[in-house]
Amino acid sequence: MPEVHVPVARGDGALRTAAGRYRLMRLSRRFEETVHDQHGEGQVPGPLHLSIGQEAVAVGACAELRRSDAVLSTHRGHHHCLAKGARADRLMAELLGRESGYSRGRGGSMHVAIPSIGLLGTNGIVGAGLPIATGAAYAMQAQDRDDVTVAFFGEGATGTGAFGEAVNIAALWALPLVFVCENNQYVELTPQDVHVAGEIWRRGESHGIPGVRVDGNDVEAVREAAATAIARARGGGGPTLIEAVTYRWFGHYAGDRAAYRDSREVDSWRARDPLVAARAALDDAEADALDAEVEREIADALAFAQRSAVTGPGALAIDHLKETA
């Protein structure tokens, strides 16, 4: 067995402090930069949708979550996974197609589900996490738990029928559900104005769902909005819709040069790096120490993945039905 590195930012409470939140944002950034490099070297046998620039949304929204709360993620979900407590090493192994990955290296970035920590799935189908989120929230309600479900989705997903269905039933049943729209302003290769009519944060208005728009690059702003929504949901007050406005620094997928965007626009958003703001809340020595810790964690994660066996055809049939587990 390879040695197991247990990182700090994990489990209940790891994101309760500004230091913990910065550390996780940094971890997510370095994780993605590392897999991006690996992708460039041909070591990632699958697509990669980077969330670099959007870290504050995942970390802020997950800051107040418990292990028993649920999160539904998307095709662009490494930051959600890490913020909900996924291990960097096993996630890295998954992306590198290794047996020790969360889905035995067969799923890749869009097919990670870790029910033991409440991460019910990244998803290759835009919008598909939203109906599942209503189910998790319904179960929490029916079991009389005070847990909540957070559903992340992009602005593009607001065009799906699944979004409309989910918002309606969440309001009807007062589900303990927080909708977090991560508006990074591009939907694949076209800007959001091709996709979105009206204002997303107001989409729940006629359902009686409170909506709020926040600066998605400000982890504290996201955390505060989420904390209010989560407390409301835990108390039986029903769903909230949060629109966190942010920006993806890279193309839709690793390899997309994003020629459809103006470089000045990209530069202006890069100048508003969410990590820089989060770091400013800490003293330099503390932040430096966290950075060094993250470097070690990422180096260990990469080494762990690289030491793991490449998933071969022998793993193909596993885990289809219980009989084939």
Binding site: G118, A139, K322, A325
Partner: protein
């Protein structure tokens, strides 16, 4: 799985289903039921009557018309500790939920390595004045999906025993009820532990001359055909797979190898269907023993009309099964 039940009661299929739901909800509080009109009205065909009074509005819950969310409710709830039963009013509506069934439910274990207890109940087939969008048989589409079990009971007793087993199963099960059978009566074993195994075919009638594999509404019609032909000294074996996926191929193959003749009977249309799959099985595994080409007895490849007599004339009856068997016998 053994049966401890001794007593039986003559029940209609819908009553067998109702009894299965009541017993499993009594036995395990994690079992919940969601669907359109399942609660207060007791189901559009009365299948779930009385359940909401008994188990409350949280466990038996009427939903809005949101088929994606309906199956999503099951996936999410199953993933965090419940054992949900989701009702999709008509099989035709499952098309709207296809993503949740195929891309989400059926892949949960593959992605996570964890169980997903989930039963999706739905109703197929002609039998009411429902027409081309409320009468279709899509079972084969779902049988083509890894990670999903597909069960299709042909009588009240099987419906009860298989539904109870499906609710206790740790994988998603698509449980297809048949409208034309809902009011058909059968002796149904009583007692909470009456369970029928998923993945095991039942030989309804033993015979030597020809194997008939029949599903759903065609099982009783095949038995009727077998009875008719017995008068002529023709010995027909009738197999009801009960579970379409994973299919009990061994039972079917063993029978075909012995009789050398195969007829597959179903209410669905023939192209790319369950019957086609069983014929392939015969070709792949029984070719040396086959004495005649396999025969598919199915609805013609046309839409289901709305008027009941017209719709009923489209579905194959016992006479069509008799004709199919004769063809299989003459084929050599």
């Amino acid at each position: 799985m053994s049966t401890t039940a001794t007593e039986t009661k003559p029940l209609k299929m819908w009553q067998g289903i109702n009894q299965a739901l009541v017993e499993e909800m009594e036995r395990d509080e994690r079992v919940v039921l969601v669907g359109e009109d399942v609660g207060r009205p007791g189901g559009p065909y009365g299948v779930t009557r009385g359940l909401q009074e008994r188990f409350g509005e949280l466990r038996v819950r009427d939903t809005p018309i949101s088929e994606q969310v309906l199956v999503g409710l099951g996936v999410g709830a199953g993933a965090v500790g419940l054992r949900p039963v989701v009702e999709l009013m008509f099989f035709d509506f499952a098309l709207i939920a296809m993503d949740q069934i195929v891309n989400q439910a059926a892949k949960f274990r593959y992605f996570s390595g964890e169980s997903l207890p989930l039963v999706i109940r739905t109703m197929c087939g002609a039998g009411g004045p429902n027409g081309a969008q409320h009468s279709q048989n899509f079972e084969a589409w779902y049988c083509a999906v890894p990670g999903l079990k597909v069960v299709m009971p042909s009588n009240a007793a099987d419906a009860k025993g298989l539904l109870k087993a499906a609710i206790r199963d740790d994988d998603p099960v698509l449980f297809i009820e048949t409208l034309g059978l809902l009011t058909a009566r059968r002796e149904v074993p009583q007692g909470e532990e009456f369970l029928l195994p998923i993945g095991v075919a039942e030989t309804r009638r033993a015979g030597d001359d020809v194997t008939v594999v029949a599903i759903g509404r065609l099982v009783d019609r095949a038995l009727e055909a077998a009875e008719t032909l017995a008068q002529e000294g023709i010995s027909v074996e009738v197999i009801d797979p009960r579970t379409l996926a994973p299919l009990d191929a061994e039972t079917i193959v063993a029978s075909i190898a012995r009789t050398g003749r195969l007829v597959v009977a179903q209410e669905a249309t023939a192209p790319f269907s369950f019957a086609s799959e069983v014929c392939t099985l015969a070709a792949e595994r029984c070719l040396p023993q086959l004495k005649a080409p396999p025969v598919r007895v199915a609805s013609p490849f046309v839409n289901v009309p709305t008027p009941v007599p017209l719709a009923e004339s489209r579905a194959p009856g016992a006479d069509a099964v008799v004709a199919g068997i004769r063809r299989a016998l003459e084929g050599a």
